[in-house]
């Protein structure tokens, strides 16, 4: 049981970092988890192409909330180019817990909002590899 719900995951869940709204974000995006419908939104304030403030909001499971909490910690202070380097695997490593495919979707929700919504990356070519 405690494999997944480690102390630090529950802590991030109960006291999430960077949770809330930004009044006038430079970039803002919201995205629903296709697995469960939970919505997560994220806003950033930029100076040049560097994130100087980030907030997320929405309800979600411990995995998605902890992931958003930890990822927004990472985002703070990075440039958009640096953020584009973050991979799925980085997220899994950051969380440090074994995840089933369904829970991986929860873990990646914040990362998806970041990539598709904030960084506005076209994921098409990346997803072409689904036959590997």
């Amino acid at each position: 049981m405690d494999d997944l719900y480690r102390e630090y995951i529950l802590e991030h869940y109960k006291s999430p970092h960077n949770k809330g709204d930004i009044a006038h974000p430079d970039r803002f995006a919201a995205y629903a988890n296709p697995f469960c419908g939970d919505r997560l939104q994220m806003g950033v304030r930029l100076e040049g192409d560097r994130v100087v403030e980030v907030r997320f909001n929405g309800t979600g499971c411990a995995i998605s909330q902890a992931s958003a909490s930890m990822l927004t910690d990472e985002i703070q202070g990075k440039t958009l180019a640096e953020l584009a380097e973050i991979t799925k695997e980085d997220i899994f490593e950051m969380l440090g817990i074994p995840l089933s495919p369904a829970r991986q979707k929860c873990a990646l929700l914040a990362w998806e909002v970041l990539r598709k919504g904030i960084l506005r990356l076209d994921e098409d070519t990346a997803e072409e590899s689904d036959l590997a």
Partner: protein
């Protein structure tokens, strides 16, 4: 917490040995399958019937002038007759095989609906519908300019019948609602609602996806005009469902899909549709699946649908009692009969997904999410619920295991 062990045990209604999957382990624990509302497990009678079909009688149906094809056709049409009898239809012509309940509802929307619904017509649905009984009507409304109105759901999970009566004053062309909510377990007073709708001049579509597997059902007594349901939720295979329709309505409807089997005559630029029910079955049907559904219907009939309903009513009360004893846990839906054995709940400070994941580690399969009823979640201001549901193979000791595991999960997050 309630001492459930003090209550008399409830055995499974069906022999558990009939269901091979129930002897499986999950995460090192015996499987406790409490997600029959999403899909039921299958008895050997069903699995074997399909296997036998493929090993002995497999061929395409309807047009074969050889023994094997006649056997396959007889098996396929025999399944239709069994289904017709199971829901007390008047004739096999009223039984159309579809892929699932969802397709059945779409068939009505895209054939009867497009032919009969005009701009400004009112369609009455309820707030507790499954997406499959919402989206087809949204598409129809978008195409035709019809107006959707909704029977509200009360705080204790019942349909607001006074509001329904007021909606009927607007003389809707169509009323569509579920005979049992897959989230709340609510069983609306369908017979009265249908009579009222008919009095107001509406055609009535019933979503039977939950009712047909769990309750005795007589379409003649109910008097609904259409009824859609799925095999996979009633001990049968995936890949097949049923649309019941009153014959006169089906006769008057244009066909849905075009192709083999649904035609009587085809020329290069025109065709004449086939007789009922084949008019609505284009292409090679789900033959082995019909055979499996036939076996499922026989299995349920042998158990007796009255007894199935009684078994589940008992389990529902047991589940509600055991779960509501857990601090911080809230049941969403009616807590007293009539209701189905599907119980939605939330726990303060816990997301339903985390409940389901923690239970899974105890071998318990429950569902968490919006259960394809997002508007109902919105109605209750919830992102999701956890949902446990029972069926003919469920025992009270599984309910006890569920309650213990939920209590432990809650403690972890407390």
């Amino acid at each position: 917490m309630l001492d459930v062990s003090a209550q008399p045990a409830i055995d499974a209604l069906a022999p558990r040995a009939d269901f091979p999957i129930l002897s499986r382990e999950v995460n090192g624990k015996p499987l406790v399958y409490l997600d029959s509302t999403a899909s039921s497990q299958k008895p050997l009678a069903v699995i074997d019937a399909m296997e036998r079909f493929y090993r002995q009688s497999n061929a395409n149906v309807h047009r074969g002038a050889y023994a094997l094809s006649e056997e396959a056709s007889a098996a396929y049409e025999g399944a239709r007759k069994a289904v017709a009898k199971f829901i007390h239809a008047r004739s096999v012509k009223e039984i159309v095989f579809t892929r699932n309940a969802t397709e059945g509802l779409n068939v009505v929307a895209q054939t009867w609906g497009l032919a009969n619904i005009k701009a400004g017509d009112v369609i009455v649905l309820s707030e507790m519908e499954h997406h499959s009984n919402l989206v087809p009507w949204q598409i129809l409304a978008a195409r035709t300019g019809a107006v959707l109105e909704f029977i509200p759901v009360t705080d204790d999970g019942l349909l607001d019948l006074a509001a329904y009566a007021r909606l009927l004053e607007r003389r809707p062309r169509l009323v569509a609602f579920t005979l049992m909510s897959n989230v709340l377990g609510t069983i609306p007073p369908a017979r009265e609602m249908i009579a009222q709708a008919h009095a107001a001049g509406a055609v009535v579509v019933c979503d039977g996806a939950q009712a047909v597997p769990h309750l005795p059902l007589d379409v003649r007594a109910l008097d609904c005009d259409f009824l859609a349901f799925s095999s996979h939720k009633m001990l049968g295979p995936t890949g097949i469902g049923v649309l019941y329709g009153k014959r006169a309505l089906l006769e008057a409807m244009p066909p849905f899909l075009g192709g083999g089997d649904m035609i009587r005559e085809v020329h290069l630029r025109s065709f004449t549709p086939n007789d009922l029910p084949w008019k609505f079955e284009a292409g090679t049907p789900a033959i082995a699946e019909a055979v499996g559904l036939h076996a499922a219907v026989d299995y349920l009939s042998a158990l007796g649908m009255e007894r199935v309903a009684a078994h589940e009513a008992e389990l529902a009360q047991r589940m509600i009692a055991a779960l509501s004893a857990i601090p911080g846990l809230h049941i969403i839906g009616p807590t007293s009969p009539p209701r189905g054995a599907v119980v939605s709940f939330t726990i303060d400070g816990m997301h339903p997904h985390d409940i389901a994941t923690l239970l899974d580690q105890d071998g318990i399969a429950i569902r968490a999410g919006h259960h394809c009823a997002q508007p109902l979640m919105e109605r209750f201001g919830l992102p999701a619920t956890a949902r446990a549901s029972a069926y003919v193979y469920t025992t009270s000791s599984e309910i006890d295991t569920l309650a213990e595991s939920v209590a432990r999960a809650r403690d972890l997050f407390a």
